[in-house]
Amino acid sequence: MRSTDKTTEAARVMSICNACRYCEGHCAVFQAMELRLEFNADTVDYLSNLCHNCGACYHNCQYAPPHEFALNVPAAMAELRQENYGVYAWPGFMGKLFANNGLWVSALSIVVIAVFFAATAILSGADFFAVHENAFYGVISHNVLAGTFGAVGLFVLIALGASVTKFWKTMRLPGPFVLDYGRVLQGVKDALSLKYLDGGNGQGCSYPDDKPSMARRWFHQMTFWGFMLCFAATSVGTVMHYGFNLPAPYGYVSLPKLFGILGGIGLIVGPIGLLALKAKADPAPKGKSNKGMDVSFLFLLLMTSVTGLALMLVKETAFVGVALSIHLGVVMTLFLSMPYGKFVHGFYRLVALMVFAVEKNDHKAVVGVCEKKKAA
């Protein structure tokens, strides 16, 4: 099992917390911690992905810096998460991209948007700045679009699937076909409701300062459901196109449009709210190494919805080519960075919360328990 600065620090912090336990009411991290005496890499990977970085345990900690124990649970967990996202990434060497994530995501977006500009300009030739009768499919044909994004989407699915599988196995969950979903249902509910951004008492997390607030939970829900609605819009559109021979553009009172507009608004308000809270927040509990990863992901989500809505507004003008190039570039960057950026956090958190549902129910540690002991 690996041993790094980040796993060592998380284990040190948890050993002290486990002797204190004042924070056990706040969230799943501490309740899972109490089922254990030792903290190996698998265990701290698990605990770090249970942590929602709500900050309550930092602001309420009697051992927070400048105390000589210098406890900062959320920061230790945030930095460890950034490391273990890389550890579980597929293919393995791509995990290195988590180290300077903000930098590579930014660089990628520049390259991809530039490529889209070039490709669109070459494909559409003199018509780049022109009004098109069939909106943006006049600039790039639907089949080219669907083919490019389909291929990238397939790769993203495989990469994400392989990463999550690796994590799933480390978390000791039974395979997806033999899993008793009733036992992990609470974990799915806790993930979807962002239960652990409630501070433990339903008053909200300590974010951006020590005062409990629901703002982060609301903005995160807008971001998540906004993203899901946009995803639904695209999916419905694809089905309508290929299944029912109903190609875009769609009217405002159509499923793709309703989903897209609603989702787009959520995906504007949500990320702006989260970015604003992040800018205001006390930097100490956020972790030092992971800010680029967090911010670049939020910014990509925001740009996806902003450019998407902009494209909808200008699709019948001469700017459709420009808007389309930017939007597709942003979306492609988001796609490509999905397995190698902050996007993965949702999957790992979901899996960790599913395991926690089992551990809590059985009152017994599952993850990281050494095999020898299990046999004995």
């Binding site: 924070c23 109490e34 009697q62």
Partner: protein, 462 residues
């Protein structure tokens, strides 16, 4: 440090629970209030930062508390631990007024947590703060600021001016402030080793202070020197046996070692000295600090075997581990021959029976100079673990005498008209000795409310 005004209606020294509550109550009554907190902002709140619960009397379920905990049962508990060293009138008033504590705090934003895991067995008597005492502090500081209470950090009172039993003003370094009424809530003197030595002798050099390093008793000493009536004995304090590797100051709760009853405890001479199985936590917890303080160099070692592992709250530092008793003794730094002899004799004296850590199981030894009366399993299954122990002082009981109105009494018998006290600085009025979980915060809460209210009334001429 410089206050915004030269004069206040109410001046509060100390920004722990008691001082903040006094300040809030006075401000809510319309007084102009200033709080002087001796610690920097990061360490604000005195020992409240290390607390976790208070103990309210209640008839029927109350907030997170289940069942009933009435005055008689509470009083019996207090009488038992203090062995009568309490002022019944003040104590009973404290118990009665403790009922309102939870509601008072909750209505100002303090969060309590439902009983969970390690707090389940105290779900009837003790109300636990969500996240611990620092959560309470953060909320109360925010609330006080919202009421316009002026708060200064790093503002240790360095001089106090009491004339004929009346408060005139005080100094924080060069800066002088006056006030119509004064609330003394600046804690005890546990971090003042010199003062502890006056009561304990040189052995106090070897004490670890679990509480805040800022409770040096400066204000308490100045008040006593100015003729205020003392209450309590200087050697009375909350003293528990904690991990010998804990920080000198500020170690708090996590430094406790809770496996004494599961093993044997030896001193530096590798000899046992007290019945490890006498009673349950928390009584056991509260006596072992004094027991260790009486041993050579104020050191002891608790020794357990593999059977005990996982059966107690995990200590903050790892155990010293070895496969044989002599090897363990070498690692710990005590005589291997003597330790092996002690353990062998103990094992031979252990009587058969069944072990049950959840009750006084009567599993005992026979024929030893110091017998173990419960949970006396043999120590024979390697690997063996040892934790070193030292006395850990959490807070002190010597303080200033107060009336039911939290008014400070002079040694001359006179009552100070405008000096009030709350919290650890006067806890000895109610708790002269012993300890009851959550009683310190209960006293601070009740007297904080009384002191704030009385001080405001005096200052505003009501």
């Amino acid at each position: 440090m410089k206050t915004h005004h030269d004069h206040y209606d109410v001046l509060v020294a100390g920004g722990g629970q008691a001082g903040l509550i006094a300040a809030i109550v006075a401000a809510e009554k319309g007084a102009r209030v200033c709080v002087l907190e001796g610690a920097p902002r990061t360490h604000r709140g005195g020992n409240t930062r290390h607390t976790r619960n208070l103990r309210p009397m209640h008839l029927g379920p109350l907030s997170v508390l289940s069942g009933t905990y009435d005055e008689e049962e509470y009083w019996e508990d207090l009488l038992r631990v203090t062995k009568g060293k309490t002022n019944e009138k003040l104590a009973r008033m404290t118990l009665r007024k403790s009922t309102e504590a939870v509601d008072w705090l909750e209505s100002r934003g303090v969060q309590f947590q439902p009983p969970l895991g390690g707090t389940l067995h105290l779900g009837r008597t003790n109300a636990f703060f969500m996240g611990g005492g620092k959560q309470l502090l953060n909320v109360l500081y925010r609330h006080a600021e919202g009421l316009g209470v002026e708060i200064h950090y790093d503002a240790m009172v360095t001089g106090i001016d009491i004339e004929d039993g009346a408060f005139k003003g005080l100094n924080v370094g060069e800066h002088r402030v006056t006030a119509t009424a004064f609330v003394a809530a600046a804690g005890g003197f546990e971090a003042n080793i010199e003062w502890l030595k006056e009561a304990w002798g040189d052995v106090a050099e070897n004490f670890l202070i679990r509480g805040t390093p800022y409770n040096r008793g400066t204000l308490l000493r100045m008040m006593l020197d100015a003729g205020v009536q003392q209450i309590g004995e200087p050697d009375q304090c909350h003293a528990v046996a904690i991990d010998g590797r804990a920080p000198k100051f500020d170690g708090g709760i996590c430094t406790r070692v809770d496996c004494v009853s599961l093993g044997v405890v030896v001193n530096e001479n590798a000899e046992r000295f007290y019945d490890e199985g006498e009673d349950f936590w928390p009584k056991r917890y509260a006596i072992w600090g004094r027991l260790v303080a009486d041993q050579p160099n104020q050191v002891a070692h608790v020794i357990i075997d593999q059977k005990a592992k996982g059966g107690f709250m995990p200590p903050v530092f790892p155990a010293v581990v070895a496969d044989t008793i002599p090897e363990l003794a070498e690692k710990v730094g005590i005589d291997p021959v003597q330790l092996e002899k002690t353990i062998t004799e103990y094992n031979a004296a252990a009587q058969p029976g069944s072990f049950d850590h959840t009750e006084l199981d009567g599993l005992h030894t026979e024929g030893l100079a110091v017998n173990k009366t419960n949970w006396a399993r043999t120590i024979d299954q390697p690997p063996y673990s040892a934790y070193s122990l030292r006395p850990g002082i959490t807070f002190t009981y010597l303080g200033v005498e107060v009336s039911e109105k939290a008014q400070v009494q002079m040694a001359s018998g006179k009552e100070c008209p405008n000096i009030f006290a709350a919290g650890e600085i006067m806890a000895g009025n109610v708790l002269g000795q012993g300890y009851l979980a959550g009683i310190g915060m209960t006293i601070g809460n009740v007297f904080g409310r009384i002191a704030g209210s009385e001080a405001a009334d005096y200052a505003l001429n009501r």
